[in-house]
Amino acid sequence: MANFLDTTVDDLIENFEFLGDWEERFAYLIELGKKLPPLDESEMVEDNRVHGCQAMVWLKMLPAGDSTFEIHADSDAFIVKGLIAVLLMIHNGKTAAQILEDDGTAIFARLGLDRHLSPTRRNGLHSMVSRIKALAAASVAQPA
């Protein structure tokens, strides 16, 4: 699933540049969010909850063969699901070491999202990134 929904990070950046204004970019994020595969309700539990987001967010990371991981995450808000989709484009199908090396912040900056998300939203995004990195770090410390 490295190419989530057949969209790469480069495609995403190109699409963002093509879209004229932020209203359209947010609308595009919403469309991405709608395509995000939902988590099963049984996975929407406290252990998978990411706190620090205004919306509800659940996130888990599963081994996907060849030491790579797949992130499964969901939210009750579409824009947050869209941000999750971007995180999946960045991190999915990579090894723990690669995930730890990924500079998601730089990609969000290239998208301009760092300036156009409200500070509380940015905090929420940081909480999701921290969870992904922590899960990757934990898998390195304790190989499955």
């Binding site: 209203e23 919403i30 509800m56 824009i79």
Partner: protein
């Protein structure tokens, strides 16, 4: 400190207030946001400031600024006069018995914490009950939780009936019989409910229960008369009443204030200090340690003049007219959940759409220049009770227009198309 003559004259035409002219006195309302004219509908969080409040604060810093109460020099005298003049103005605004009953604070939150940490800490004991309601803002809940944990007191709650947002008062006397202190909000910041505080305080007084009223959502919108309400304490914030941020008011009945221990220690609040002991000043100085927010108090004075020149009943009617228009248009949306009373409500309108998250709505509305609030509104337990994680909220003030209500509804429909 009086309003410029042209504003006062304009607003005194009270049976037909020129709302458009008043709106034009708020420079920030001419902003564009994301390429659209700003439609500011987050007034329950903070109000905007008219030019005369901004000018008054600037004039104070340009001409009168110095520390208060201490100086022998001219500027200190001017600053003290301005500060104490503001105290008198607040006393008049709330119909308090005297300016000594007015304590300046940082805001409603500090006022409520002050009561919890002085009167309540001094008078409540292990096993005593503090009565609250289920619709309190976190600032009128968490201070009491902290106090209750500290001294072993218990919390009890007057229930909220349902989406209609009324307090269930059928057990009020029984609950008061078990309580020593009642703290409740005048107007709900989430549902727009206007609580019958005077009636409730009458029952509380009969039961010997001390009362605290959170007037954060009412003081800038409707008449708040502490003698008519009959409360012992009442708190509000300057920034929600067209005044500056960082200034607020706690009213306290004189007998209680005199008997209460100080809040914080420092300058201003003492009469005599020795190395091992001090004698404290009288109220209100006893509760105002350190250099106060003089510019804030001066700005608040100008704001209260401004509101009274319009007339608070006219303001409330305007709020209600806009809220009614919004509720009627919102009710046309299939499956919408509207919170709060259908009649006699304030200008706060909370809702949940069946198919769109409040955060998505507010984010997309912001792209079109409409400022809404989305989330739990510092009301997490209430939202949990109502079974929702977040609501969207539009809250109106006198400078909002019917055209803005219509724009808000139009934007809502546009945004919904994206989200459904």
């Amino acid at each position: 400190m009086n309003p410029p003559a042209e504003t006062a004259n304009l607003a005194k035409r009270d049976e037909s207030v020129d709302w458009t002219a008043l709106r034009n006195e708020f420079p920030i309302l001419r902003e564009t946001v994301n390429g659209h004219p700003l439609v500011y509908l987050d007034n329950a969080a903070s109000s905007q400031k008219p030019q005369q409040v901004i000018d008054t604060v600037r004039r104070y810093y340009e001409h009168d600024n110095a520390n208060v109460h201490r100086g022998i020099h001219e500027l200190s005298n001017r600053a003290t006069e301005a500060y104490e003049g503001a105290r008198q103005r607040v006393a008049d605004y709330l119909n308090a018995g005297s300016p000594e009953e007015i304590i300046f604070t940082r805001g409603t939150t500090e006022g409520l914490n002050l009561v919890a940490n002085t009167w309540a800490l001094d008078n409540l004991r292990k096993g005593d009950t503090i009565l609250l309601t289920e619709m309190e803002h976190h600032s009128n809940l968490v201070p009491w939780q902290i106090l209750a944990n500290r001294i072993g007191a218990k919390l009890d709650f007057i229930e909220v009936t349902d989406d209609d947002g009324q307090l269930d008062l059928q057990w009020l006397d029984e609950q008061l019989a078990r309580a020593r202190l009642l703290s409740l909000t005048h107007i709900s910041n989430t549902m727009g409910t206007v609580n019958p505080v005077a009636e409730i305080c009458t029952h509380a007084r009969a039961a010997g229960v001390v009362t605290v009223v959170d007037a954060a959502q009412s003081a800038g919108h409707t008449t708040v008369d502490v003698q008519a309400i009959g409360c012992d304490f009442l708190a509000f914030s300057g920034h929600k009443t067209c005044g500056p941020t960082g200034i607020g008011v706690l009213y306290g009945r004189r007998e209680l204030l005199e008997a209460m221990p100080p809040y914080q220690g420092g300058g201003e609040m003492i009469l005599k200090v020795e190395y091992r002991d001090s004698t404290f000043n009288v109220a209100p100085q006893k509760f105002e340690a350190g250099t106060p927010n003089v510019a804030g108090a001066v700005g608040l004075h100008a704001a209260l003049d401004y509101l009274d020149a319009i007339g608070r009943e006219a303001i409330f009617e305007h709020d209600q007219r806009l809220a009614k228009r919004a509720c009627e248009r919102l009710a046309e949306i299939d499956g919408i959940r509207l919170f709060g009373p259908s009649e006699d409500r304030s200008g706060v309108v909370s809702f949940v759409l069946p198919d769109a998250h409040a955060l998505d709505l507010a984010t997309m509305a912001d792209q079109k220049g409409v400022a809404l609030r989305a989330g739990h509104h510092c009301n997490q337990p209430l939202l949990a009770k109502l079974g929702v994680a977040a609501t969207a909220r539009a809250s109106f003030y006198f400078y909002n227009t019917e055209a803005e209500v219509d724009r808000f509804i139009e934007v809502l429909h546009d945004v919904r198309k994206l989200l459904v």
